[in-house]
Amino acid sequence: MITLSNENIGAVASICSNLAKACEKQHRAQESKLFLQIEQYFNERQVKESKHGLIDLEPLIQADISQAYVQCEDAAIAAEDRASLRAVTWGKKVTAIHKSLLSRYAKQQEALLDNGQLYLCEACGFIAISAQVPDMCPICKAPASRFVKIQ
């Protein structure tokens, strides 16, 4: 269980935004709104990482791919926990996409989006560069309606 501290404000914000979605799906609009209010408070207090550039993400992404996801996958397999294994399977694929996008950006810079726009799958976090909205998410198989264009 998470113990509240100044270090995990961001984690609590994500827990609250997830619970807002969960309540919305259960048709509990009032509860959903209340969780969004609490999320807002923690979002505003999330530690700002002001010195960083996109390049600083690369070692963190690499560490997730080579360590954090591997550990989590091993633990989920050992526990026969298919729900966690599903999250790990999607998450490590999305994280590999982050890595590939950053290395493409390092080479192409502004030209990265010359022939397409960024589309985000709101179900799993997959990011596509595409001239039009993708038909289906290659990672979680969500339909085109789950994609948003990044403006």
């Binding site: 914000a13 700002k48 990482e49 600083d56 963190l60 960024l118």
Partner: protein
């Protein structure tokens, strides 16, 4: 367990009005009257041609606990994704053009990944001991006047 209508999917064929034995589906708000709805009846759910009605539990059973290995692995992934979200957000604020768009996409994507870790580490649905404990512990923190303590108290009552 009572029926709820997703108004975005409702095509106003109104089959629910004609199959409901208690009139619970016939309301001025477009929502189903939970007090009149019969527990688990589901006649309206099966009749609706647009799949706009579903059943929800009134009281959820406790969520199954994860093993401690899975739990701690998911929590450290959650922390990592939150750090990456924060970095991407700060890049999005201070850059332009392609870098800004890419950073925005990465921030949103990391939030989705963080939420997924939160979901699997015991915070899937709000009706769980883990969530009630987290909310209760927020009220013990010295968060100051702008903390929405009212929202927390209301949730503790509703859940």
């Amino acid at each position: 367990m009572h029926a709820v209508r997703n108004i975005k999917l409702c095509t106003k064929d109104c089959l629910c009005l004609f199959v409901c034995p208690t009139g619970a589906t016939n309301t001025e708000t477009g929502q189903i009257d939970a007090d009149k709805c019969l527990d688990g009846c589901r006649l309206c759910v099966d009749a609706c041609p647009s799949h706009a009605i579903s059943l929800v539990y009134d009281r959820y059973p406790e969520v199954k606990r994860k093993t401690s290995d899975v739990q701690s692995a998911l929590e450290s992934l959650l922390d990592n994704k939150v750090v990456q979200e924060a970095i991407a957000l700060s890049v999005a604020e201070t850059s332009e053009g392609t870098a800004k768009k890419l950073a925005t996409a990465l921030a949103k994507s990391n939030r989705i990944l963080a939420e997924d870790c939160a979901r699997e580490s015991g915070y899937l649905i709000a009706q769980s001991d883990a969530v009630r404990q987290l909310l209760a512990s927020m009220l013990d923190q010295p968060y100051g006047e702008d903390f929405p303590a009212d929202a927390v108290s209301q949730l503790l009552e509703l859940l």
